[in-house]
Point group: C2
Chain length 362, copies 2
């Protein structure tokens, strides 16, 4: 099976990402990590019927003893209760420290499985097999794992790098169109903050991407992971450069909170957030209006929303201020200094932001 490979350099936590169609059927991708070990596939009710048996077969052929933990599907299950089902399954099967957790699914499964691996017996290995576009370009790279707490999203977790990521692009065929487009939003993000040439490539291959064409997908995922890995390598514990990855997210989180989670997909809220951040950048004179229009046009062409919902400015500011990366009551914004060059801005004018929100979204 042909595949693209990317090495993520993080010292003794380095790992590789394989990207290609049909990889979940290829034992060679898994053997170095699971051979002779117990491999616990953690997945959900939606993904299990589609891919769990196939992956189980592959892991067994790779020399593992496979077991399966099927969780309920949905962000509302990203809780301690669900996490504990993973612990219970591992303990009941007497999985030791040489065991490996294999996350098969989207971001929620990856987050729960990753945190389970991070904390089971104080840390065992885990491998990510992301089956959504969003997870393939975002959540399976970077080592962030977490569960939600009734008092806040992603509040309990760990930084725990996987030993490998196997992104099978063929699994994207079963994704609903909205979820697929939400993944494309994150791909656009990487171009916007880091690589204007990649942004141009996305524009040139928008049709191929919309058609889920394997070659185009493989390149888009590879380049996205490369950019994310590059940024994460500079700032594994999220103290500086990594904040760039939040482009579109500060506005986006506010939109998700105000609209109620579940109304919009995360990627959709981020698409609107990116359009807003670009427009605000233009308003501050950081980029020409032409550039923010270019970004909006691309997002719209990929089937993503770009219009800000209207709600009171105070609500916007309240929700935007809740992000855990904010310091001292200041809202940190990721803006653009040029297409392909994001900037972490901690001192944006509060008045300009307020005016912008009143006009555009108030």
């Amino acid at each position: 099976m042909s595949a693209r490979h990317l090495a993520v350099s993080l010292g003794d936590r380095s790992y590789g990402i394989d990207i290609g169609a049909g990889l979940i059927d290829d034992p060679a991708r898994f053997a170095p990590h699971v051979g002779g070990r117990v491999a616990a596939i953690v997945t959900n009710e939606t993904v299990a019927p589609l891919y769990a048996a196939r992956l189980e077969g592959t892991l067994e052929r790779a020399g593992a003893k496979a077991l399966r933990v099927v969780l309920p599907d949905g962000e509302e299950h990203k809780t301690w209760r669900t996490l504990d089902r993973v612990f219970e399954a591992l303990l009941e099967a007497r999985v030791g420290r040489s065991g490996v957790v294999v996350a098969l699914g989207g971001g929620v499964v990856g987050d729960i499985a990753g945190f389970a691996a991070a904390s089971y017996q104080r840390g065992i290995a885990h491998l990510q097999v992301p089956t959504t576009l969003l997870a393939q370009v975002d959540s399976s790279v970077g080592g962030k794992t977490a569960i939600n707490h009734p008092l806040g999203k992603n509040m309990i977790g760990a930084f725990h790098q996987p030993v490998a990521v196997v992104a099978d692009t063929a699994t994207l065929a079963t994704l609903p169109p909205r979820e697929y487009a939400a993944g494309l939003a994150e791909i656009v993000k990487y171009g916007a903050i880091f690589d204007v040439a990649f942004l141009g490539w996305i524009e040139a291959h928008a049709d191929g991407l919309l058609a889920r064409e394997p070659q185009a997908l493989a390149h888009a995922i590879l380049r996205s992971c490369e950019i994310k890995a590059d940024i994460v390598a500079r700032d594994e514990r999220e103290s500086g450069a990594r904040a760039l990855l939040n482009f579109g997210h500060t506005f986006g989180h506010a939109i998700e909170s105000a609209a109620g989670y579940g109304t919009l997909l995360h990627g959709e809220a981020v698409a609107i957030g990116m359009a807003m951040a670009a427009r605000f950048s233009a308003r501050l004179g950081r980029i020409p209006a032409m550039d923010s229009e270019r970004l909006e046009r691309l997002l719209a062409r990929l089937g993503l929303p770009v219009e800000a919902p209207r709600f009171p400015v105070e609500t916007w500011l309240e929700y935007m201020g809740r992000d855990k990366k904010n310091e001292g009551g200041r809202i940190t914004l990721i803006l653009l200094d040029a297409m392909g060059r994001g900037a972490v801005v901690k001192d944006a004018s509060a008045r300009a932001l307020r005016e912008f929100l009143e006009e555009a979204a108030g």
Copy 2:
């Protein structure tokens, strides 16, 4: 306030241990770590009335905004439910990533508070203020944190080094005698596995130690932490040398399991376990019988039990086999090759072990 200081070298996770009488009243010990931050004191119902208000005052004088989380006392509360009380308190107070958890208490408090710090917002700083002898010489060094799971002790946790340890020897004055002696057992352990000169020093200062004499205590704690830190620095993630620290623990865990937790203190079970491991070492010809008798004599003089309880050999082997450090069904034992020189033995004769248990403890 006079204090002894020990630097624990673990690269970018290095930290210092301060040891001395009255340190919890000295803001200078805390200021570098808590100044300008929220410091959440995590403690329990027994320790809180004794020391929480004093430590709170010290932290405030050190420039922190202090808050207090009081947990129920006892190993049976080392659960997710109790851990969640810490998360709730942190979230309700909107503690951010710059917050610091300050563990005030024994091993259980340290374990829960440490794991809370390890996983709150994917990891914030924590500081250990151990108030039991066992915690001062053992659990506050090494970065192991955990909670229990209904299916196994210490099964959910993290390696998370503290930013500092402040061991106030004056807090040991309030320890019940049995708990105090249980701490002495761990001190003897360090001498037995690593430093025969220190073992000799303990013998020479047994009366001072039993009288809780500050100078003797400070030296014993410092040297114990030094030895533990030395071993941990060689093997932070517990793959090799760190197993030496389990001297007495494989037999000890079996005793705790068979006797039912709570009957014996952990340190008491370890004392018996060390006596057994030494006797078994002598039986295998690794050390002269004189040496194992010397160790037993010292333990007994410090008020610790050394006689193995009698229960069926199969039960011994079953419980000894459950330790998470065992591999492939083999029981790993820590034996002595000489006084002051422990050895990790993975290939001890199963027949010899069985015979020894039948005679000594069957």
